[in-house]
Every structure is written in structure tokens, then in C-alpha cells.
């Protein structure tokens, strides 16, 4: 699930890759894309776009032929994942990326064990979200940063092996978009446990 690729190497179709931003480079790509669309195209002020929630969120990146093309921010609340700040760079908007990108985000949240995805949908996109199984949580529209929004939620199919406190501890240590694959810390197990702080703990006790 980490890297979803619609590859058809024999054709000229672009290669689309989606992943969880996991390096500072990828995070910068995400910020640059959001700045391009929200600040550059929609005249959103810097402090509204970079609102202080970026460092407690997960950021999803979509690449077209390796070039950063779209991003989305996911924040984790009790019982639901909030999808937000979803953008696609202008030049990639005709490729039909939005729906599969939201699907990927829903799938990501479900595999983490979240039973619900929630989002604030701009009015012009309401139909698309409804087609994707999102329902308005109530009839109270609201607005911020110059756009009118409705709150939507969708139920997710949480897989049986979604993480719980009884999940194999080393599975919980894996990169969050690759829970089904051995991670770098599992490789570290080969080094054994030398308990580098043992001496320090001994000192403390004597």
C-alpha cells in the first residue's frame, strides 16, 4: 500500500506514485505545492495556510513521473481521520488524480484502524464527495479563508488486522504507510540487545 503505482511501462501513461511524506525533502515538496495553490492561485495569506497544525499531522504526497504533483494533510482525532489541504498542481488537474488520491487517503486511515474519514468540502466539490460515499454530518455550512464549506464524513472498512495494543510490537514500529512490510527497526533486531544504558541504570540504583 505504501507505493501505489498505476504503471503501464509500455505506454506513455504517466507513472503515479502516492506515499506518506517521510523526509524533510518530501515535507518541503508538500509545503511548496500548498503555497503554489493556496497562496499563489487562491491568494490565501501565509499564516492561514501554515496554521500551526503541520507538525502534528501526516502529509501525503502524490508524484507524477517523479515530480511532486499533489498533496494532502491528514490529522488524527479520536475516532476519525480528518482529510484536509488537498491540492493538485494546475498542470496535473486533467489527469483525474483527485478521486484516487482521496481513496488512497481513506484506505490509509482505515488500515491504521480509523472507522471514519472526515473532511470540510468546498461547495463546488460536494457532488464528488457524495459520489465517494461521504455524507454531510449536518446542514450547517460554514466558511473560512474565503470558501464556503460543509462537513462530511464517510464510514471506512477497517481491516481485522488493523493495529491495536495487542498487535505485534514490531508491526507498530513500521512506517505508517507500510504496516504490511518489515521496517528498518526489524532489521535492527539482528544486532541483538546490548542495552547501552545498562551501566547508567546501575549507577542510578547504587
Amino acid at each position: 500500500m505504501a507505493v501505489q503505482t498505476t504503471t503501464d511501462r509500455m505506454s506513455n501513461r504517466p507513472v503515479v506514485t502516492i506515499k506518506l511524506a517521510s523526509t524533510s525533502d518530501e515535507l518541503l515538496q508538500c509545503y511548496a505545492l500548498r503555497a503554489a495553490v493556496f497562496m499563489g492561485e487562491q491568494q490565501c495569506p501565509y499564516w492561514e495556510e501554515f496554521d500551526g497544525n503541520d507538525y502534528s499531522a501526516s502529509h501525503l504526497m502524490l508524484y507524477v513521473d517523479g515530480e511532486p504533483a499533489a498533496s494532502m494533510r491528514v490529522r488524527w482525532f479520536q475516532g476519525f481521520a480528518k482529510l484536509e489541504r488537498a491540492i493538485i498542481l494546475k498542470r496535473y488537474r486533467s489527469l483525474g488524480l483527485f478521486v484516487p488520491f482521496v481513496e488512497w487517503a481513506r484506505d490509509f486511515a482505515a488500515k491504521k484502524g480509523y472507522p471514519k474519514a472526515y473532511l470540510h468540502g468546498q461547495k463546488r466539490l460536494w457532488e464528488i464527495f457524495e459520489r465517494q460515499g461521504f455524507r454531510k454530518v449536518n446542514d450547517a455550512p460554514f466558511h473560512f479563508s474565503d470558501h464556503e464549506y460543509g462537513a462530511f464524513a464517510a464510514d471506512l472498512d477497517v481491516p481485522e488486522d488493523a493495529p491495536s495494543v495487542f498487535t505485534d510490537p514490531m508491526v507498530l514500529n513500521r512506517p505508517e504507510d507500510q504496516l504490511d512490510r518489515a521496517g528498518i527497526l526489524e532489521k535492527s533486531m539482528e544486532r541483538g540487545a546490548s542495552n547501552p544504558h545498562a551501566e547508567w541504570a546501575d549507577r542510578r540504583h547504587h
Binding site: 509545503y31 511548496a32 505545492l33 503554489a36 499563489g40 491568494q43 494546475k90
Partner: protein, 189 residues
């Protein structure tokens, strides 16, 4: 140090140098808005590998970052590039404020020449800021884009030093400045 010179709607415009990660992010956001959002430059061209060996100057109106310019330091000159001002704040001389900050910065470092590469259509703007073509009427190419090299004296009373700044070298990624291949963007894909 913040310098205040002019104001937009009564709010002073100030410039300062990026010192923290958040500052650089503001510079990058302004550039992304202008170059990627407005001019549709690809991300990988805009963020070309030179950002971590450069000085970033940022203009603010209040706390809002509205403009930026990047300065790269060479032995005989300082290169101003990636000058950007958010669309709705243009027409208030924010660009010249940023370039003046670059000039003072260069002066304080004992550097006597500012150098830049601009699109042929932008030469008028730079001429108004006191810049002149390095070689009259000459134009070269950076990848698929035609560019004009322009210079400005830091201290008008001192003669302009001899400059050696072949475009292919200053556009190459810093870690590969001494390589013999083509510069970044030279190959159209």
C-alpha cells in the same frame, strides 16, 4: 535586524534575513506561490539544490511574508536570484526594497558587484533598479530559457571589477560546480 522603509496601506514593509527553518519556509512558500503556482515552473526546477548554500532575504508586511530574493555568494560577486513578490503586493517597490537589502548585505561583506540572470522581457525592470547588461545586447540560454546577465555596482564610486561568471557554471548545482556536464535545466525533457 529588520529594516523599515516603506508601507503598504499604512503597514510598514520590512526586510530581514532568514535565520531559522521557519524563515526559510516562508521564503520557499513565497517562491512556490509565484513560480510554481503562478508561472507553473516545475518543483524540481524551482528548488534546484542551491537553497542551502544561499542567503534568503524576506520582505514582510506586518508578519506576513510577501516577497523574497535569494543571494548566492561567489568569489568576485553576489548573485541575486529568485526574486519574487506576491501578486497582490506588487507595485509597491517591494522588489527594490529587497534588492537594496542585497546591495547593503554585499557591501557589508566587502563584495562590490551584484550579478543576476534575467529573462529578456524583465531587463527593463532591472534597468530601472540601476542594473545594466554585463555584455551589451548579449543573450545566452539556461536550458530552454533565454537569459540576460546583468550587474550592478555595490558602491557606485568604485569601479566594477572584472567578472567571470559563465552562465553554465553559476546555474550548476553547487556540489557539482566543478563538473564538466551540462548545467541544471540544460536538457529539455
Amino acid at each position: 535586524m529588520r529594516t523599515g522603509v516603506q508601507a503598504i496601506d499604512g503597514v510598514p514593509v520590512t526586510t530581514r534575513l532568514a535565520m531559522k527553518m521557519e524563515d526559510s519556509l516562508q521564503a520557499f512558500a513565497v517562491r512556490a506561490a509565484c513560480f510554481i503556482g503562478e508561472l507553473e515552473v516545475p518543483f524540481s526546477e524551482e528548488f534546484d539544490g542551491h537553497d542551502y548554500g544561499a542567503t534568503h532575504v524576506i520582505a514582510y508586511i506586518g508578519d506576513e511574508p510577501i516577497g523574497t530574493v535569494r543571494v548566492r555568494w561567489f568569489k568576485s560577486f553576489a548573485m541575486c536570484e529568485r526574486l519574487a513578490v506576491m501578486q497582490r503586493f506588487r507595485g509597491h517597490n517591494v522588489g527594490s526594497l529587497l534588492l537594496e537589502r542585497c546591495r547593503k548585505l554585499a557591501e557589508s561583506r566587502g563584495c562590490n558587484m551584484l550579478y543576476t540572470q534575467v529573462l529578456p522581457s524583465d531587463t527593463g525592470y532591472w534597468q530601472k533598479q540601476g542594473w545594466r547588461r554585463l555584455v551589451p545586447e548579449e543573450m545566452s540560454r539556461a536550458g530552454h530559457k533565454p537569459i540576460v546577465a546583468m550587474v550592478k555596482q555595490v558602491d557606485p564610486s568604485k569601479p566594477l571589477p572584472e567578472v567571470e561568471a559563465p552562465e553554465s557554471v553559476v546555474l550548476r548545482r553547487e556540489p557539482t560546480l566543478d563538473s564538466s556536464g551540462m548545467p541544471v535545466g540544460a536538457v529539455t525533457n
